[in-house]
Assembly symmetry: C3
Homo-oligomer: 288 residues x 3
């Protein structure tokens, strides 16, 4: 037995206009009426595994330890792709084995105690009696999450697996004077979120300077005139500390709430006005 958890979160591409999400909640509450269910989002773009992976990795660490996270973006539903439960120090992840944990597993490995174990969902005791091949959310993932919240152990659910599927990450290329990443997510405000972490950016910007041991919070003033961030036709010469530092309507670069470099417009929508989208390159060039 595991320790029972009072929380289950849901991350899906089901939208909220159909009954699918409501039905999953009914199934969960039928098995464990005492659990509290929290929606992370149901608006992942249909069948977009990459977006789902970004979403759960951005959210899970803010929930109580032991929380059970259900992630269903599952283009292969009903095929022979595996359904699984992955357990980490932070909680449980119930999902298809199709890459939706890619960012999370990468993040785990970058931490010292980042171990994980996973099993294939096999035991029919913990799923609905009749499984429909178009809605494993209802028939497999929801009941498994509910049983986990009651304390059922991974060993009881199925056989261990080691090879969790991961998609290739959007790469970051570095040369002597450039760092090239890309936009990996656009939020509903139109903020363009890149795969360049604060740490990678600091290390790159400081590596040509005679700084020793200065890595920490970015000192925007020290380096403010020494680089250019370019994305499409947008060129930015400094890193903002707040949106409000820039005039309304002006594009800006900032380390956003995910700890990633973002391109935004103060009081505006960068996606709509800069003609940029997910996948577009973002190049940081420094004077050396």
């Amino acid at each position: 037995m595991n320790i029972p958890s009072p929380f289950i979160t849901l991350t899906t591409d089901f939208g909220t206009s159909d009954v699918y999400v409501g039905v999953m909640k009914g199934v969960i509450l039928n098995i464990n009426p005492n659990v509290q269910i929290v929606d992370i989002t149901h608006a992942v773009s249909p069948q977009n595994i990459h977006e789902a992976a970004f979403t759960i990795n951005s959210a899970y660490r803010f929930f109580p330890k032991g929380t059970i996270h259900v992630i269903i973006v599952d283009p292969g539903v009903g095929s022979d792709r595996q359904a699984m439960v992955c357990k980490t120090e932070d909680g449980f992840f119930v999902c298809p084995n199709n890459g939706v944990l890619s960012y999370l597993l990468q993040h785990l490995e970058s931490e010292e105690d980042g171990t994980s174990e996973a099993v294939i969902i096999e035991n029919p005791t913990y799923i609905l009696p009749r499984v429909c091949n178009t809605f494993h959310g209802r028939d497999i993932f929801a009941p498994i999450a509910a049983h986990l919240s009651l304390g059922v152990s991974l060993a009881d659910i199925g056989t261990p697996i080691r090879n969790l599927i991961r998609f290739p990450f959007p790469a970051i290329h570095t040369t002597h004077d450039t760092l090239t990443g890309q936009i990996i997510n656009v939020d509903s405000f139109g903020n363009l979120i890149t795969n360049i972490t604060e740490k990678v950016l600091i290390d790159f910007l400081l590596s040509s300077e005679s700084n020793e041991g200065t890595v920490g919070e970015l000192d925007k003033h020290t380096i403010s005139s020494q680089f250019e961030i370019k994305a499409g036709r947008t060129s930015l010469k400094k890193l903002n500390g707040t949106y409000a530092e820039s005039e309304a309507g002006k594009p800006l670069a900032i380390i956003g709430s995910f700890g990633l470099l973002e391109i935004a417009i103060n009081l505006g929508n960068a996606e709509a006005h800069l003609g940029l989208k997910s996948g577009d390159k973002v190049i940081v060039r420094r004077s050396v």
Copy 2:
């Protein structure tokens, strides 16, 4: 007194961009702070009673027995249409008497123990002191649901009614070699859901064959080459077991999670690509 219930679900056409749903939750929690409220959906098309009827019938059976379901798609709000509570073996349904329970009542009658009783909402004790004629959700349905969750009985709420309003169902026509139904719902993935149940389809496809007692799960292989499903210009010759059986982008027919025949596109949106919509005919033709 009834047995108190810890769950109230909400199905409305209120959307989630206004305060209406939040206000209803406030009213409920003010009366019973211990109830858990679950959204089924608030995105029923405005004033679409048929869609509401499909929605609640698809969802209610997955919730714990005794759950109180509030369904508000109410074009006649404030007129002399009745507000009611209907009680079945499965739970309570709080709604206008305007047809939103049509599918559910039909489904009940097809089951052996499918009894129901209903009352008109009359007792002012259980509704808000001042009723606004444009928002019975807040002033009548939410407080009634909250009082039901505390154990108030139907007899205490109002007078029994027998004639629950039902809309005429989209018909299914059968000839010697054709079965004609129609698309009754389109989900947010663009899947086209028909009114042809798995059982009706099996019975039709098997009735010309020398099968005895084979009704049960559909044996797709046995009958795979013996029929054609036609909707608009789309013609399908087999019934999939999973989406993934078909190539990406190809239309397919499948018994979906509602137990109904659906037309879908693997990894795509059938509504957008096949030019089909709710109300369109779907014809199954068999070789005899």
Copy 3:
């Protein structure tokens, strides 16, 4: 210490397609796992303080006393605008000091016991250790709300402030025979909600008549032929008691569920069909 509250509501412009709302819920449940979180709406138009002010004022009074309301529409996030907690007889309001409480404070003052007190959020004990300047919802407002729900007192959170920011209200102009207000909100049904309250309208319509002490519920019949409501090219000569009193598709005027004059279309969308929008004038003219 305050009395702990079991409820926190959320009103934001974050949308529900990103992780922001889910993350805030995680932060709250991490601090107080026993609180129930209710969404009022996350679809306030981006950075629209006026709409947020209308929303929270329309919703808060339906929640149990002591409920903690978090309102985050915060174009100045990260700038020197203050983050605050305001406490009234009804509950707590956690928000930027940027005008989002304008309607609520006005409403309070119109009531006899409408006192309020407010503090700036200062004590680092009750916020996250590292504050990101683009997401105070997660790092400041959510943890403060969670600590309030545990009973932390205002005095413990920060220094009192008196000058809560309010925006100038859309004015109502009255002449001898006209009352001019404006559309201040459009709901998702397309109903056009004005800033003319039932009381203002009654007082205006009755003031020329020899009525003494008749103020109370509007007697629509008495005054039905004595006035015209004009908005754009729409002219209405009576006040409906229900939508259904008018033919389907016809525009109508009605006192809606907010207690405000609304222009609507029975079974239709007034915004879409009448060419009217937020900010447009609505003129009531009476025969004298």
